[in-house]
């Protein structure tokens, strides 16, 4: 079944056309991640799905029901905000209960659901605390808890981890993945973070300037991007683009991921090391080629290259991608 169906959704704020003909189908239990540069319309799209903004045109269907004119509360969704948006004057329990109480749920049912959510999120010791008395990670979990207790068909997350520090972010990422597995609900997740997108998504939706550029599984997008934008956007360090001139079709651009380059004295590309980043687990070389292009090489493990060193780089032709001058993928 389709959890969510967007048909020709458009959204304008006055003059500004922010979302352009969005079509998307999200399957049941699917985990969808929206990525794209800042301002491309990710949050807006999420808010249109939530019903916090009305689409200018187009149709939103959730679980087979047309909700285009339905208020947020009746759409069977939950949303977790970047700022958590916890009710500061209510304790953790109150935060989770408010929506249910409003809906007139039975007291017993409310208590039960809160208990279950608190257990799942290890929030039991904090039920009586207010948001101000919680750490960032705990607040994050409360926000998720508030979403869970409503038992929605569709979860919406708008950059839920961006306020957390690195370590916590990693841990919470794993928790969210588990949650998805346990709850069996569909999720739509907006993020800026490569790693989150790659690791959490069943499918990634790449947005750019209010349009969907490509939709697909993380590996499909990584290995088989539809265009130069998607290719460059995914992967860190990002893909090297070389004027293909000497190596391929004239006018075309050749894309090589940094990890597909290898050091070899006789390599096709000759250059000198401009900068070395030693990350412990791997090493990035920034190499300035003869053609004055900068190429990033990613090597696994620790390596002894030094700045200024002349090196040659080789790569597997089979693993390169070509793009035309407009950035469209040229398929062999």
């Amino acid at each position: 079944m389709t959890a969510l169906l967007l048909e020709n959704v458009n959204k304008s704020f006055g003059e500004v056309h922010v979302l352009k003909d969005i079509n998307l189908e999200v399957a049941d239990r699917e985990f969808i991640v929206f990525v794209g540069p800042s301002g491309c319309g990710k949050s807006t799209l999420l808010r249109v799905i939530a019903g916090l903004e009305d689409a200018t045109s187009g149709r939103v269907t959730i679980n087979g029901r047309d909700v285009t004119r339905t208020p947020p509360a009746k759409r069977g969704i939950s949303m977790v905000f970047q700022s958590y948006a916890l009710y500061p004057h209510l304790d953790v329990e109150g935060n989770m209960a408010l929506g249910l109480r409003q809906a007139g749920e039975d007291r017993g049912v409310i208590a039960e659901r809160i208990a279950a959510a608190a257990k799942m999120l290890s929030l039991e010791p904090y039920l009586k605390r207010r948001p101000a008395e919680l750490s960032g990670g705990q607040r994050q979990r409360v926000a998720i808890g508030r979403a869970i207790v409503r038992k929605p068909d569709l979860f919406l997350f708008d950059e839920p981890l961006s306020n957390l520090d690195a370590a916590l972010r990693m841990a919470t990422r794993v928790e969210i993945a588990q949650l998805h597995r346990n709850l069996g609900a569909s999720m739509i997740y907006v993020t800026h973070d490569q790693t989150e997108a790659m690791t959490l998504a069943d499918r990634i939706v790449v947005l750019r300037d209010g349009r969907i550029e490509q939709v697909g599984s993380p590996m499909a997008l990584y290995n088989d991007p539809a265009n130069q934008f998607v290719a460059g956007f995914l992967g860190a360090p990002s893909m090297n683009f070389l004027a293909a001139g000497p190596l391929g079709a004239p006018g075309a651009v050749l894309g090589v991921r940094p990890e597909y380059l290898s050091v070899s004295a006789t390599g096709a590309i000759q250059g000198r090391v401009a900068h070395v980043e030693r990350l412990g687990g791997d090493t990035n070389l920034l190499v300035t080629t003869r053609a004055e292009e900068t190429v990033t090489v990613r090597l696994f493990g620790q390596h002894d290259h030094r700045v200024g060193e002349e090196i040659g780089l080789d790569f597997d032709r089979a693993r390169t991608l070509s793009f035309d001058a407009e950035g469209k993928r040229l398929r062999a």
Binding site: A73, I77, S83
Partner: protein
Amino acid sequence: MHKARHNPLNSLAAHAALLTWTAVALFPVVVILVNSFKTRKAIFREPLALPDADSFSLVGYQTVLKQGDFFLYFQNSMIVTVVSLFFVLLFGAMAAFALSEYRFRGNTLMGLYLALGIMIPIRIGTVAILDLMVQTGLVNTLWALILVYTAQGLPLAVFILSEFMRQVSDDLKNAGRIDGLSEYTIFFRLVLPLVRPAMATVAVFNMIPIWNDLWFPLILAPGEATKTLTLGSQVFIGQFVTDWNAVLSALSLAILPVLILYVVFSRQLIRGITSGAVK
């Protein structure tokens, strides 16, 4: 501590400046309070002296307290002040919420309309207001006063509260919407509790003119049963009055309640005002 950064001389100067102004601010109040406990002669001979065994006298307070039913007046003032504040805050907050939260045609115009009131002294509308109260049969009831003070307090309340409400996070209100809260519940359960400090600010700013007003009680509710404290004590502040014991005592008595009300609201006021929204 902080030796590299802070010069003790500066802090001394700061305290000196603040102490000076504090003295200036409190001096007149102290003069009134101190002299209200003295005999008439002592008030004139040595206005700055503290009352001693000789000059101590409560005659002023006795005069004042036997002049009228001060307890009743006090109660009336309390009711009028508190109920008016309640309506100013409630209606003002509701209107401020509408103006700050919803984009609708005429929003700016409505904001301007609600601000007109601070530009014309409401006193000149007295006759029309009295007419209105006569027609509605509210003359000589506390409701007449409450209505006038509510109307009079609304412009400033809307102005201040809408500034504050703009600062309540949109995400929070949206979270409420997704949780299924109605717009009313969002207002009462989420927004109101969060702007409490601003409400205290508005309360303090409105409380003073309401409590101290002489004009409307005189015109709208001069009856014995509805007299306010300020009106009740004006007997001593009239033109033909030389009984300074009574005057000073009445003034001292009039300072106290506002002072107490102020203390009640002031912690919230500081918080409200320092949360930086009246900018």
